[in-house]
Symmetry: C2
Subunit: 335 residues, 2 copies
């Protein structure tokens, strides 16, 4: 009989997520039935998209259920198997509970080779956030030499890859991030041409005018809100927006209005496209070839924040929504 620690959704947040939205529980997992495996989890990914799942009724993923464990991308080890696809000792990745252990039917799980990279990388630079960045850049933003590409949340799990891919494509790349250290890293390590601190800059329009004197040709949008409004107003003719997230708006009690002058979309022939990477799993092979190749060649940097222990996941997640992490945020789980 395995005892598991898990974190369940205790109540739906209104506005900011608070401690009492979560409850840690120790449960005794049932014995496996045919087809099931028991996974001892090693790393859990925390991602901004989880915030809408805590409340949204009509979203791309069904909302988390009250009094059930939250779920997230996770890497773990198979410690018991009654499923012929998986053997004890296999390392797997997939959507698992916020828990030390998950009993799973194996559907949607993928075996990974732990010799390729540290396990947590499969949740970041080799995983969903990186795939998201690649898809949005490759298929929507399509930056090229002579253009200016903007990336909000420039050093986040997705943004850090998006910015580097735009730079590799030859564009001038400008971003914003939530503190000075992140801005310094973006420029020195990730190769951004410029990165401004959206907490200390008051006039986003003025700073964008300065850093993007030729306007903005593509926007990889992770933040939404006032930053998006300022970028939108500076998009050039035939500008593209890969709309990936709007973290600045997730905790608003009242939905924020969109940017004024939607007619700009017509005047400048803009394309604004929302996307969710899980719609594009058929392209995973292309992503692995391309981004895997860049990684091997040492052409991509990555940065992560590792939080130790599942019990700290709620606090870390609340911090993520306020931008307190640096790079990809993962929780190390000692199950």
């Amino acid at each position: 009989m395995t005892q598991a620690l898990q974190v369940v959704l205790a109540k739906r947040p209104v506005g900011d997520v608070t401690d009492d939205c979560f409850r840690a529980e120790t449960v005794t997992l049932p014995a496996l039935t045919d087809g099931q495996i028991l996974i001892r989890q090693r790393f859990l990914s925390l991602d901004p998209y989880m915030r809408p799942r805590m409340t949204e009724l009509r979203s791309y993923t069904p909302p988390f259920e009250l009094d059930k464990p939250l779920t997230g991308g996770s890497v773990g080890e198979v410690v018991e198997s009654r499923n012929e696809r998986f053997a004890k000792g296999d390392i797997v990745m997939g959507l698992l509970n916020w828990a030390t252990h998950t009993v799973h039917d194996g559907k949607g799980l993928r075996k990974i080779d732990p010799s390729i990279a540290p396990l947590s990388a499969h949740l970041g630079i080799l995983g969903m956030p990186s795939f998201t960045a690649w898809y949005g850049m490759k298929h929507i933003c399509k930056p090229k030499a002579g253009e200016t590409a903007f990336v909000s949340a420039a050093t986040g799990a997705v943004g850090q890859v998006a910015g580097q891919l735009a730079k590799l494509a030859g564009a001038r790349v400008v971003g914003c991030a939530g503190d000075e250290d992140k801005c310094v890293w973006a420029v020195r390590e990730a190769g951004y041409d410029a990165c401004f601190n959206h907490r200390t800059e008051r006039d986003y329009g003025a700073v964008l005018d300065k850093l993007c004197p030729q306007g903005i040709d593509s926007d990889f949008e992770n933040v939404g809100g006032r930053i998006f409004h300022a970028v939108f107003a500076r998009l050039n003719n035939f500008g593209r927006v890969a709309f990936c997230g709007a973290i600045s708006e997730y905790q608003d009690k009242e939905p924020m209005a969109g940017p004024p002058k939607m007619f700009t979309i017509v005047q400048r022939r803009l394309t604004i496209q929302g996307f969710i990477v899980s719609d594009h799993v058929a392209l995973m092979g292309d992503f692995v070839n391309e981004v895997g190749g860049l990684l091997k060649a040492g052409k991509l940097k990555s940065r992560e924040t590792v939080v130790d222990g599942l019990a700290k996941a709620p606090q870390a997640f609340m911090g993520l929504l306020k931008g307190q992490n640096f790079g990809k945020l993962v929780v190390k789980i000692d199950g």
Copy 2:
């Protein structure tokens, strides 16, 4: 020496266009120089996009110049030619002055065959508005059977064609228009499944919920503002918006905010694409084949309002911006 009546931009409007934005002038045209032709105009097209040109500094077309004639799509007859491409008697179409006569270098003018259709049709169902509708439907909205397509300004020069093309593609087609007669025409003649009066309906959300019970898969947007906000909130997953115009916003002194909850774009994987048909002239041949074929087969209806005399153009244009025309608005010119 030809005397021409012309209408010049006397001042840039702020908010509603007023009489004093225009000035009618009689001028003596200069003698032709080599390469020039003199066109006696027969019909002038009045279109909503002219309103932004009266003020906008950064628009897709340069703004009209103060104290110079406004311009617009026009059909006329060559009455004198010093250009070998054109002979006296040719009927031509292109961007000409709001005038009884224009002296032109011939660039961008197209000869038309007056036996195909009434001359005014080349400004409507056979011309730019229809090409606009075709491009937006064919290349952005892509309606199909089982889907719901929405068209704002359902009976306007563009909307009436857009709606019929969506219906021919098999979609349920819902529109809105500014009076009862237009709504009746939309349903009885143009084949809309439903059309509501946006002047008498107060709750656009409620009427859309009723008329589009399966949500909205594509939106051909001509109006913007509150109607667009209500449509946006009801777009289905993978919904498409062909953003063609925003007539409801053109006369706002303060720009209207965009729809709240831009994150909807991500959640539902929306694509919002602005377009201007003049970017796509390479597709004109496809348009003529397809829409010309439908017209010959009697599968497209059209409706126009003809205003008699250039002197009435300003008043007619102000009416257009308030939706007082029915279908394509043209001015008959007796030069």
